[in-house]
């Protein structure tokens, strides 16, 4: 199974795993092509330190002081078209301490306009290593359907000190025509 999201992200994740990066990182600095932390610097300070655990895509400690406008870990997902009824699937393996679930959203650049599509579930990694699978249905009213757009998966990070070890990550799309939508099609579910 290959779709544009999976094809775009997979090699970049592999490259990051093999890089064994360690040390502090800067906002928007690329850890691998299209994978980066980002935060707003106004009246706040965010700190992320990579620990370079073997076998991990990413392991890091992070915290922030003040109220950053945003604090996130971002994975570019490439350019493609999403359709109403598609299901986005995120599979993550790892562990997290010091924070509860991470809110996720997909930011899409549609003809220059940025549209955010929040996942209905948060990414809940536990203190011990485990696998989490999330399914997110793409609704017709999400504003991202039908037009090619550049997509980025954004994980919002908490301000409290926390640690994440991310061993594996896949993001893919099950097309409406082939998958099992996580919500039934209704008379209005195609409305745009």
């Amino acid at each position: 199974m290959t779709d544009f999201l999976d094809a775009f992200l997979r090699d970049r994740v592999l490259a990051l795993r093999e890089s064994h990066l360690a040390g502090p990182v800067e906002s928007d600095a690329r850890l691998a092509d299209g994978i980066y932390f980002s935060w707003g610097a106004d009246k706040s300070q965010c700190m992320v330190t990579l620990s370079g655990e073997p076998g991990m895509i990413l392991s890091f400690d992070a915290t922030s002081h003040g109220k950053p406008g945003w604090f996130s870990l971002n994975f570019d997902l490439g350019t493609g078209s999403l359709e109403a009824g598609d299901t986005l699937v995120l599979i993550a393996e790892g562990a997290m301490t010091g924070a509860a679930g991470l809110p996720l959203f997909v930011r899409s650049n549609v003809d220059g306009a940025l549209i955010d599509m929040p996942f209905s579930e948060t990414l809940d990694l536990h203190a011990t290593n485990g696998i989490v699978t999330l399914f997110h249905p793409v609704h017709a009213h999400s504003g991202v359907c039908g037009k090619p757009a550049f997509h980025t998966l954004v994980a919002s990070l908490p301000p409290t000190p926390f640690h994440v070890s991310l061993r594996a990550l896949r993001v893919l799309r099950i097309p409406a025509s082939r998958g099992l939508p996580s919500e039934p099609q209704t008379l209005s579910s195609l409305a745009s």
Binding site: A140, C145, Q185, T186, L187, A191
Partner: protein, 303 residues
């Protein structure tokens, strides 16, 4: 056990069954007339504590069974058992103007005389009265799941489109021979009114409006649904590859054609602008099912 609870363990009155009264909605005429009547009966049933029973008898207006169209799970009567329900109902409302004793849009359960038992409503339109709730009716219909056959048809058409068009022009002298368009279905004045609006929904009006939208760059793709092959032919010749339609060779009221019609209804929601046929229940329902606030232009009024 505390003594204070003991009285509740004995019956203070003879045993009896509590029977929830019913609201029978006898849906009439074509697909969207029926869907409109059914949907508007839902909030009335809910507000008056009645269980809804749908009467959906396939006939010359609509040969499809409800199950051909929707995965509806409530009780449905498809045969003359409905006549028995009508005879024994505490109150019958009949909106079908052509029938003796009918009273179009009579308020349902308007409170003048309380009615505790079953009520039976025969209608091809929205129910009226103190318990009607159009937004709740729209929500109910929007939540209904189409049958798998309908979904298969929907998937065969690319979407979204820039403009959706519904052309309903097949009523009037040229169509009187069709049983479902016959003047016998309506009082004379109502049929004249219908025929007048159908004339205002001629394909030429839609072509003029679409040409203007294309000229301003707002109609690169057009989804069209029409009731006549001739309308499709005009659009296909003029708009070529920018036109999207659900192709068929049926233009009748068969079950298969009505599955196409329901798929059309869903596809008409997949554009941000809708050119509708005024006085068409099909256009009305297509707009109900669309995103709230969708641009909506009506033949004979807006273009």
């Amino acid at each position: 056990m505390a003594s204070g609870l003991q009285p509740a363990l004995t019956l203070s009155a003879p045993g009896h069954f509590l029977v929830q009264p019913r609201l029978f909605i006898d849906t009439q005429h074509g697909l969207c007339n029926r869907l409109r009547a059914l949907s508007s009966a839902v909030p009335v049933a809910r507000a008056t504590g009645r269980r809804l029973v749908v009467v959906w008898r396939p006939d010359h207006h609509c040969q499809a069974r409800l199950s051909d169209l929707l995965a509806y799970t409530g009780p449905v009567i498809e045969d003359d058992a409905a006549d028995l329900m009508r005879q024994r109902a505490a109150r019958v409302y009949n909106y079908m103007e052509i029938e003796e004793g009918a009273c179009y849009r009579e308020p349902i359960l308007d409170g003048a005389q309380p009615i505790d038992g079953d009520i039976y409503v025969r209608a091809a339109d929205m129910l009226a009265g103190p318990f009607s709730n159009d937004p709740a009716a729209y929500r109910f219909l929007a939540r209904q799941q189409p049958s798998d056959a309908v979904l298969d048809l929907v998937r065969s058409v690319p979407r979204p489109s820039d403009v959706a068009v519904h052309i309903r022009m097949g009523t009037g002298p040229d169509f009187d021979h069709l049983s479902y368009e016959s003047p016998a279905n309506w009082p004379a004045a109502r049929h004249r009114e219908l025929a007048d609006w159908r004339r205002k929904s001629d394909v030429s009006r839609f072509v003029a409006r679409l040409d203007a939208l294309i000229a301003e760059g707002s109609a690169s793709t057009i989804f069209a649904a029409a009731d006549l092959q001739a309308a499709y032919a005009v659009l296909e010749e003029r708009y070529g590859p920018r036109l999207r339609v659900l192709r068929r060779d049926l233009f009748d009221r068969s079950a298969a054609q009505l599955q196409y019609a329901l798929a059309d209804l869903m596809l008409l929601t997949t554009a941000p602008r809708f050119l509708a046929s005024t006085w068409s229940s099909f256009s009305d329902v297509a707009q109900w099912l669309a995103r709230p606030g969708r641009l909506h232009e009506r033949s004979g009024i807006d273009f």
